[in-house]
């Protein structure tokens, strides 16, 4: 057995005797598994809803195709089908690690129901959820890692030197000829290794509980996830070592480290959010509402004028209704007009969101907690970027979907059974894995640098270690 292994084994024996520590580690593993299962349950409900919508839409398309083949007018009319009968549900597939970090996943829409009407019709809809639950936040693996892992690290390391000094063990060890720095580092390293092993095991457990192991790219993503967790745990251990290298007692160290937790995990992210939302405040949703109303009213007036023109051209129809084709052509023009006015306004929200995100990307370096959260949510596709990409792709698809019906309406062509088979389909194009890796590389590098600098500083302080 090597001396290092002996030191590690001895430290594990000591930890077992501390009573609370082994339970805390087991507790962390259980919490992570429970959080992963919770994330999986939340997303499973979303998946089930999407699948049910898709099945329902497919049945409707089949029925309409059959009716069109039989010559039923309602199923052959592109205006009626496109603008009022048929909806095309499109859903964002779950990212590989989505169950591990819900992030914005329960706030931003991952599903839309498209018609040939303007995109503003579906873009403003939101999902149903309890505002109380949303305001509290999710219990997911990212929460356990970012909030609770540091508390475990603090619990295991706040007295790494001070407690030994207070009990007189450090003085005894030095008197027995041990180097105080080696003694402290042995103890510190053993505990750190245990926590790192726990992080990797917990990630594997979370991957299995979240049902992620068999998904594409899972192992690479889980490895990077574990790396982020490892660097984050190392940060807290390095900070504890740095604090312990001073002359303060265990109680003071625990207070200082808890204060650091409060600053890095609670305060800095909250201040960063406040700075980003203040500097780049989102456009007003209220203004959006009033603008939409004005645009709708103007379009309605235009449609009324078109109706008058129609009856002027078709005096034989006076007192009756416009024929359906003319009516839907007028609806299509109205929708186009409203969408033309509303889409730039809706996209302005995305522009501000991107600006906010850029500022967050800068300010994230103020807190290892923010850095880690950003990495974890980026890996899980729940940081908002994946949802924005989904929306962009949906908007492109909607143009195609809308054009399909409007072109037939304008050309005066009826829908055939073959047309139903040729309906555009939406497939979400996943961003390449390399893009996620590029996104998380700078924060991971920053975490590594912070850990290295902190560890170097702690080592320098340890050289002047007070033993008694």
């Amino acid at each position: 057995m090597s001396p290092s292994w002996d030191r590690f084994a001895e430290e594990m024996r000591l930890l077992r005797r501390e009573g609370v520590a082994p339970w805390a580690l087991v507790g962390l593993l259980l919490l992570i598994a429970a959080a992963a299962l919770n994330g999986r349950a939340l997303l499973a409900a979303q998946d089930a809803a999407s699948a049910s919508l898709a099945a329902e839409a497919a049945t409707l398309v089949e029925a309409l195709a059959a009716q069109a083949a039989r010559g039923v007018p309602a199923a052959r009319d592109p205006g009626s089908v496109g603008f009022s009968v048929l909806t095309r549900p499109v859903a964002l597939p779950q990212a590989t690690l989505a169950p591990l970090a819900i992030g914005q996943g329960d706030l931003l829409p991952a599903r839309y129901e498209l018609t040939a009407r303007g995109a503003h019709q579906f873009l403003v809809r939101t999902e149903l959820d309890s505002p109380l639950r949303l305001s509290v936040g999710n219990f997911d693996v990212a929460f356990v890692i970012v909030w609770l892992l540091p508390l475990l690290a603090i619990g295991l390391s706040y007295g790494i030197v001070s407690a030994e000094r207070e009990r007189g063990v450090l003085a005894l060890a030095v008197a027995a000829g041990a180097s105080p720095v080696r003694f402290v580092l042995g103890k510190w390293g053993s505990r750190l290794l245990l926590v790192i092993a726990c992080v990797w095991l917990a990630t594997l457990l979370a991957g299995a509980a979240g049902g992620a192991l068999t998904r594409p790219g899972a192992w690479i993503l889980l490895a990077i996830w574990s790396l982020a967790g490892t660097l984050y745990a190392m940060f807290w251990f390095a900070l504890a070592l740095w604090v312990n290298a001073g002359t303060g007692g265990s109680e003071r160290n625990a207070t200082v480290l808890t204060g650091a937790w409060l600053v890095f995990v609670i305060l800095a992210p909250a201040m960063t959010n406040l700075a980003a939302t203040t500097a780049f405040a989102a456009p007003s949703r209220i203004n959006l509402t009033t603008e939409l109303r004005e645009a709708t009213e103007a379009a309605d007036r235009e449609a009324a004028a078109a109706r008058d023109r129609y009856f002027f051209d078709h005096p034989e129809m006076q007192g009756g209704e416009m024929d359906k084709r003319a009516y839907f052509a007028s609806v299509a023009r109205s929708e186009q007009r409203i969408a033309g006015e509303m889409l730039p306004m809706l996209l302005a929200f995305d522009v501000q969101a991107l600006r906010q995100q850029r500022l967050v990307s800068l300010l994230q370096y103020l807190s290892p907690g923010t850095l880690t959260y950003q990495v974890l949510t980026a890996l899980a596709g729940s940081d908002g970027a994946r949802h924005r990409l989904f929306r962009t792709q949906v908007l492109r698809f909607h143009e195609q979907w809308s054009r399909f019906f409007v072109a037939r309406l304008d050309a005066g062509r009826d829908l055939t059974a073959d047309d139903y088979a040729r309906l555009p389909t939406f497939v979400f194009t996943e961003p390449p894995l390399a893009e996620s890796l590029r996104q998380v590389a700078p924060p991971l590098l920053a975490l590594a640098l912070i850990v290295t600098a902190l560890f170097a500083g702690a080592l320098r302080r340890l050289r002047r270690l007070v033993v008694v």
């Binding site: 109380l132 639950r133 999710n138 207070t255 009213e297």
Partner: protein, 470 residues
């Protein structure tokens, strides 16, 4: 003797530089939170007032049109910004701010402010309530964890008790001393909040603000009591500190999330699509009873019999107005049913949260704070219910106008500004404070239970107070 002990603790706390620095940081944070919330409050209040006026103007100046076209045009109800939302935003960032009140449909409130926040908002919004619920308790625990355990370790506890003071009086003295110091340190923050309220002038909700102050003080007192009991029973001040810190992290950050997610698992909400399909199905089938077409036919027959005429065109009223009213009756019943189910699920989730607050006084406090600040789920529901009552009244008025003022079969009937003026506009009036208090019964009971249990624990602790460190 009690006062002497209290004075000693009071001076001890105020002499600690760390405590003063912590209080200063807290005050700065509170000032930042207050300034940003105040600025946001002012701009939101202005924006919503302007929007409400604009919508009212658009409605009254929509020109001549068929009342049913006007019903489809509809109006919007905007939730006004209540003054205490700057203190505790509660659930409001996650609830919609406006509702489109249109014909046939009970729409959801849309435009959640949280949709426009960064992902970091899920860490917790830096509001005054958050600071008071999360940071101040930490300060209280740090100030008091060593009150007994520290003195026992240093051997001064024995000396103090030798001076003749009973353990119970010493406990009370420490409670009063640390409590008074904490109050003094919190006084600038409190003054800041009062100043912000005073700037609101006549709109300032003083009763609610004072109620909030009382509840928060009670909460801090509970935590102080807890810290003293733990300190008196702990083997060392370090053990006391770790126990209290673990409890603080659990009750403040972990339990609320776990409870909220357990609530969702127990009572899941339907998706928006599932909700709408269920409503549409019920409307199409006449709520599973008499189909709408048959109901309309039955009403037609009844009216023809009543007026003793043979056809709709001979009726003295426009039957189209009756048809619209029947459609609305069926639609309203369907929406009532499905909104009741949705709200039932959300209420069950809230019940789980409320039940879990037995383990976390912070959760109980959060529920009370939202209620008193007017930012709770119930207040949002009250706004939505009021808007729906207005919508139904509006639709009824418009349908009646068609029924009574247009000729049977007339499709070119137009109403004008006189009718639009008669409809009025929706003005949300917040509920009186006593109703908020009534809803606080359960969380207040939780706080009372914590107080009772801690008082019993304190009594038992001082009876068997360990004087010498183990």
């Amino acid at each position: 003797m009690v006062l002497t002990a209290a004075r000693k603790e009071f001076r001890g706390v105020l002499r600690d530089g760390r405590v003063l620095a912590g209080a200063l940081v807290l005050l700065l944070l509170a000032a930042v939170a207050l300034a940003s919330a105040g600025a946001r409050y002012e701009s939101l209040a202005r924006e919503r007032a302007v929007a409400q006026a604009l919508i009212a103007e658009q409605w009254s100046q929509q020109g001549e049109k068929n009342p049913h076209s006007a019903a489809h045009y509809g109006v919007y109800a905007f939730r006004p910004v209540l003054p205490l939302a700057f203190f505790d935003p509660g659930v409001l960032p996650y609830a919609g701010v406006s509702i489109w009140l249109e014909a046939h449909k009970q729409n959801f409130a849309t435009g959640r402010p949280a949709d426009d926040m960064t992902p970091l908002a899920r860490f917790g919004e830096l509001s005054l309530a958050f600071i008071l619920q999360a940071f101040v308790p930490l300060g209280v625990l740090l100030m008091s964890h060593a009150a007994f355990a520290g003195e026992r370790e240093q051997g001064t506890l024995r000396q103090v008790l030798a001076s003749g003071i009973t353990p119970a009086r010493l406990f009370i003295g420490k409670f009063l001393g640390i409590g008074a110091a904490a109050l003094l340190l919190l006084a600038p923050l409190w003054a800041l909040c009062l100043l912000a309220l005073a700037l609101l002038g006549a709109q300032a909700p003083w009763a609610a603000a004072l109620s909030l102050s009382a509840v928060y003080l009670a909460y801090f007192a509970i935590l102080l009591l807890l810290a003293l009991v733990v300190s008196a029973r702990a083997s060392s001040s370090q053990a006391a500190l770790l126990t209290l810190l673990a409890f603080w992290a659990l009750m403040t950050f972990v339990l609320p999330r776990v409870a909220a997610d357990v609530g969702r698992l127990v009572a899941p909400t339907p998706t928006a699509a599932e909700f709408q399909r269920a409503v549409d199905e019920d409307i199409a089938t006449g709520m599973g009873g008499e189909p709408p077409a048959e109901r309309i036919a039955r009403r037609r027959e009844a009216l023809l019999r009543l007026y003793k005429v043979g056809s709709e065109s001979e009726l003295p009223i426009n039957f189209q107005g009756v048809v619209l009213a029947i459609q609305d009756e069926i639609g309203n019943a369907a929406y009532d049913k499905h909104f009741a189910q949705l709200h039932g699920a959300i209420n069950r989730q809230a019940d789980v949260f409320e039940a879990a607050s037995v383990l976390s006084p912070r959760m109980a406090l959060a529920l009370i704070s939202q209620e008193l600040a007017g930012t709770s789920l119930a207040h949002q529901r009250h706004f939505e219910r009021g808007a729906e009552v207005f919508r139904r009244g509006l639709m009824e008025l418009l349908n009646r106008d068609i029924m009574l003022n247009s000729r049977p079969g007339q499709t070119d009937y137009r109403a004008g500004p006189e009718l639009w003026r008669r409809t009025g506009e929706y003005r949300y009036l917040p509920e009186p404070l006593r109703l908020s208090w009534a809803r606080c019964a359960a969380p207040l009971t939780v706080l009372a239970l914590w107080t009772l249990v801690l008082l019993i624990a304190a009594t038992a602790t001082v009876r068997h107070l360990r004087v010498i460190a183990a």
